[in-house]
């Protein structure tokens, strides 16, 4: 079904820079070793392989980070990134004066003007990576600089140890927590100008947390979904066409859904297929405006496009950014047009909606 390895390797090597190819192939092969046919996961080896970075309360390029435990019983950690509040932020050399890492200094208002708070859910198909994984630490730092935002990266519980709905519960907990933090509220109306963002499984989480937020009274100013992970029971054309060609296989997608969804559920479960036969109707509901980025070489694109369609049919505001020659993970390294242009789209999206007046 999938092409021979040599064909696939050379195809995928043609469309991404060499270091990107090395990075993503490395993930692919390592991840292959972690998934077992019986549905269990080699978590010890996964944690060993994962390249992590510590939080750093000393600003680097004007961005600092620190970790907070927001729910003790579930050990729910978030990593918070923010523009440096300190005056002495000459980023070409390290500040030699003692920089206070006192929590109260770190949680000063970034600005009196409205600023966005981006709650970010990292990818990894619900099973891999953490908030302190190096690739996601880089991405979150970039979001801070790009949007002048505070970014809250959620270290949600992963499958198969924690299935649906744990990741959504953790995402919701983070949103609720953010709404209780005065320092995250901005503007004359003192609102939490929160955006939900995520890549791959994180995009899926962003959608479902937004659904949960509908009845809560917490307004979400926008959803940013990067190559979001959706699926369904039927096989789509893109899955058949692209199976195994650009780092991803239908088989591995099936494994991750099986590991995340409740036992016995199929891929038409609404978590996986929100506009499928078991989905909920969002018509008339105050769902946030969405920016959905789809990579043209991602085998699940038909499901992502169906998601965009589903939002439109429900009368929701959605902008699709379709990058024809992009593969999964294009946003991990800043070395393609895809990367920079999509970052600009995100920046514009946030700028556009942050001043949106909520009329109820």
């Amino acid at each position: 079904m999938a092409g021979s390895n040599e064909v696939n390797a050379s195809e995928s090597q043609r469309v991404v820079p060499l270091n990107t190819w090395v990075l993503i192939s490395n993930f692919k092969l390592k991840y292959n070793m972690l998934r077992r046919p019986d549905g269990t996961f080699n978590r010890h080896l996964a944690e060993y392989f994962d390249r992590k970075v510590p939080a750093n309360a000393t600003p680097v390029n004007g961005v600092l980070s620190f970790d907070r435990l927001i729910d003790r019983p579930t050990s729910l950690l978030v990593r918070i990134y923010r523009p440096s509040p300190f005056l002495d932020t000459d980023s070409t050399q390290l500040s030699t004066s003692p920089v206070s890492s006192l929590l109260t200094d770190l949680i000063q208002h970034p600005s009196t003007d409205p600023f966005p708070v981006i709650i970010f859910f990292h990818g990894g198909s619900f099973a891999h990576s953490s908030a302190n994984t190096a690739i996601y630490d880089s991405l979150c730092r970039r979001f801070v600089s790009l949007c002048n935002a505070v970014v809250i990266s959620v270290n949600y519980r992963r499958s198969p140890e924690y299935r649906y709905p744990c990741a959504y519960d953790d995402g919701w907990a983070a949103l609720k927590w953010a709404s209780t933090q005065p320092w995250l509220h901005s503007g004359k109306d003192s609102k939490l100008r929160v955006f939900l963002a995520g890549d791959s499984s994180g995009g899926n989480i962003a959608h479902h947390v937004a659904v949960r937020a509908i009845e809560s009274g917490i307004t979400i100013f926008g959803n940013i979904l990067l190559n979001p992970m959706f699926g369904g029971q039927t096989r789509t054309d893109s899955e058949e066409r692209l199976d195994g060609k650009y780092f991803v296989t239908v088989q591995d997608r099936d494994w991750y859904w099986k590991a995340f969804l409740p036992e016995g559920a199929d891929r038409d479960h609404p978590a996986c297929n929100p506009f499928g036969p078991n989905g909920n109707d969002l018509k008339g509901l105050p769902f946030p405006k969405s920016l959905v980025v789809v990579a043209g070489l991602d085998l699940v694109q038909d499901w992502q496009l169906a998601y965009v369609d589903g939002l439109k049919k429900a009368g929701q505001d959605v902008k699709l950014v379709y990058r024809e020659q992009a593969t999964i993970g294009f946003y991990l390294l800043p070395n393609t047009d895809h990367f920079y242009q999509v970052m600009e789209e995100i920046k514009s999206f946030v700028q556009k909606w942050i001043e949106y007046k909520i009329t109820c």
């Binding site: 390895n5 390797a9 510590p54 000393t58 390290l94 003692p98 890492s101 006192l102 195994g244």
Partner: protein
């Protein structure tokens, strides 16, 4: 592939380096930002190896993806060195295919780069933002600042204010508890002479505190466990082995090693243990007593054992001849939280005692040197800086102890936690109250230790996925789900809620000549026991992976070592 330069430095890392500009500019900067270290010139080669690895993975199971792979049973080392990892996987799966010979980049100058920026993770424990808690921290910082500026009067009045505040705050846990210890330490600093301020008890008392700290938390267990694993691996294929323990204490680390050696395939080696410790003031030979107990254990599991105690107040009073290392024996040097005592103030001129000690360690040509140290920077010359670091470090440690106590039921365990806090209090007092030669707790972070070890001519030995996995499993025995083990470029750290608190690394000094060039990373495992084979690096890695109990270069001739050991087992 597009106009973007592959080698440009990754975002988030520019300007973040505290060391000199990148010493290995040909490393791909973007991959470095992702945690991987690959030379730009090697990218093509690594890509080819990855392709080949995928073929090999598919080939061996017949299935394209989604298999439990034999490679996942292999022991992996240092995932950051992507090229070495791919090669080691290939040698495991396709041994007939050596591929083009390659040399790994000399890693040492580079190893510092990735994680070298200064870190000051804020304690995640400060989740309870009661005004009193925040106020206490503010007051602590202000008084430390006052002390640094020499404003004793202000410091004194701030301390009074804090004492008052402590009566209104819950001092049973959280910030109230930790603040109490720091207020106490500040008071001592202001009102006692430096040497009296730390007022430590006898060595015997210290050993008791240590024992309770061992019981109440996983930190020392992690230290012992990780070190023992590395020692065990280093001793493979050796018939006569000699462990030098820089701080014997109650010998808690050694029963596990003795038992592991007893179970070794092929039989146990003859084990010598040299334990260094302070002299007992009351005429007892406490070192000998411990040695006797260990000998008893060794006898019961049929391990030939000999013990020698070396009484010394300071490590730099020890001379190599006291250790009586015999020719032909494999030496392991074990230091759990001892080396930092040999450091001096960073801005004081001249060599520190650590330099001469590392030099004689190197002279012993050890197969393995296990080093475990607190992961903190408590050796900063500036008082306020040091105080701040310590406040957040010990807050995190206390937080983890609390979580452990909250979830355990035995009265014994609860008592251990209380005494463990006294153990930590000693360290806090030392860091806050003492200056100059009086201060012993000069903790420095892993990255600085690594640089120091490399400067001393020691070679890194990577702690692998096996040790990592077992350390994580060890933690599941502890309630208080917040501990995390991390692999950092060949070393392991144990932390609480993403803050590393203790770091373990391993080194060796047995495998090169005085004037040889630095050996690239790939060749570190160039035969633990075979020095004369002309294998390629890949085959040597394969030997490593398969744990071959290969021909032993140590002769099995009669043991001609001296009979001066104080205790023999068997």
């Amino acid at each position: 592939m597009g106009p973007y330069p592959c080698g440009s430095a990754a975002t988030g890392w520019e300007g973040g380096r505290s060391e000199a500009p990148c010493a290995a500019p040909e490393i791909d900067g973007l991959l470095a930002g992702a945690g991987y270290r690959v030379r730009s010139s090697d990218l093509c080669h690594v890509a080819q190896r990855l392709e080949r690895l995928e073929s090999a993975m598919v080939g061996s199971s017949g299935n394209h993806v989604d298999f439990a792979h034999p490679a996942s049973d292999a022991v992996h080392y240092n995932p950051s060195d992507l090229a070495a990892w791919v090669d080691s996987m290939l040698s495991e799966l396709a041994p007939a295919d050596p591929g083009p010979a390659r040399h790994a980049p000399a890693p040492d100058a580079w190893e510092d780069q990735i994680y070298s920026q200064p870190q000051r993770a804020v304690a995640a424990r400060m989740e309870e933002e009661e005004d009193s808690g925040i106020r206490l921290v503010h007051l602590l910082m202000s008084s430390a600042d006052a002390i640094q500026r020499g404003d004793v009067a202000l410091a004194g009045s701030l301390i009074d204010e804090m004492r008052l505040l402590l009566t209104r705050v819950n001092t049973g846990f959280g910030i109230g508890k930790v603040a109490g210890y720091f207020v106490d330490a500040l008071t001592r600093r202001l009102f006692s002479a430096s040497s009296a301020a730390a007022a430590s008890g006898s060595p015997a008392e210290y050993e008791i505190l240590y024992h309770h700290f061992y019981e109440a938390s996983p930190y020392l267990k992690f230290a012992h466990f990780t070190a023992n694993q590395a020692i065990l691996e280093a001793f493979e294929g050796h018939d006569r082995v000699h462990v030098i323990d820089f701080s014997l204490m109650h010998g808690l680390q050694w029963p596990a090693l003795i038992q592991a050696l007893a179970l070794r395939p092929g039989g146990p080696p003859a084990l010598r243990l040299t334990g260094i410790g302070p002299p007992s003031p009351d005429g007892r030979d406490s070192l000998r007593e411990i040695g006797l107990r260990l000998a008893e254990l060794a006898r019961s599991v049929r391990v030939r054992f000999a013990f020698r105690g070396v009484a010394a107040n300071r490590l730099d009073d020890v001379r190599p001849w006291m250790l009586q290392v015999a020719p032909g024996e494999a030496v392991a040097v074990n230091s759990v939280m001892q080396l930092h005592r040999l450091l001096s103030d960073p801005d004081s001129p001249g060599p520190a005692p650590i330099d001469s000690v590392l030099a004689w360690i190197r002279g012993l040509r050890p197969k393995i040197i296990t080093v475990v140290e607190q992961e903190a920077d408590h050796n900063k010359p500036g008082f306020l800086d040091r105080f701040t670091e310590a406040l957040f470090y010990y807050s995190t440690v206390f937080d983890s102890l609390e979580a452990g106590r909250a979830s355990c039921s035995g009265a014994q365990q609860q008592q251990s936690t209380a005494v463990a806090e006294v153990y930590l209090q000693r360290e806090i007092r030392d860091i806050v109250c003492c200056e100059g030669p009086d201060r012993a707790e000069r903790h420095e972070p892993l990255m600085r230790w690594r640089a120091r070890m490399i400067r001393a001519g020691l070679r890194p030995v990577h702690l692998g996925s096996n040790a990592f996995k077992q350390a994580r499993m060890l933690l599941t025995l502890f309630s208080g789900e917040g501990y995390c083990v991390e692999e950092v470029d060949g070393c392991l750290t144990l932390g609480w809620h993403s803050r590393p608190l203790i770091a373990a690394s391993a080194w060796r000094a047995d495998d090169f000549d005085e004037d040889a060039r630095p050996i690239p990373d790939n060749f570190i495992f160039n035969s633990i026991s075979n020095t004369n084979e002309s294998n390629s690096s890949i085959n040597n890695n394969a030997a490593m992976l398969r744990r071959r109990n290969s021909n032993n270069n140590n002769s099995r001739s009669s043991d001609s070592s001296s009979q001066q050991e104080s205790i023999h087992g068997m």
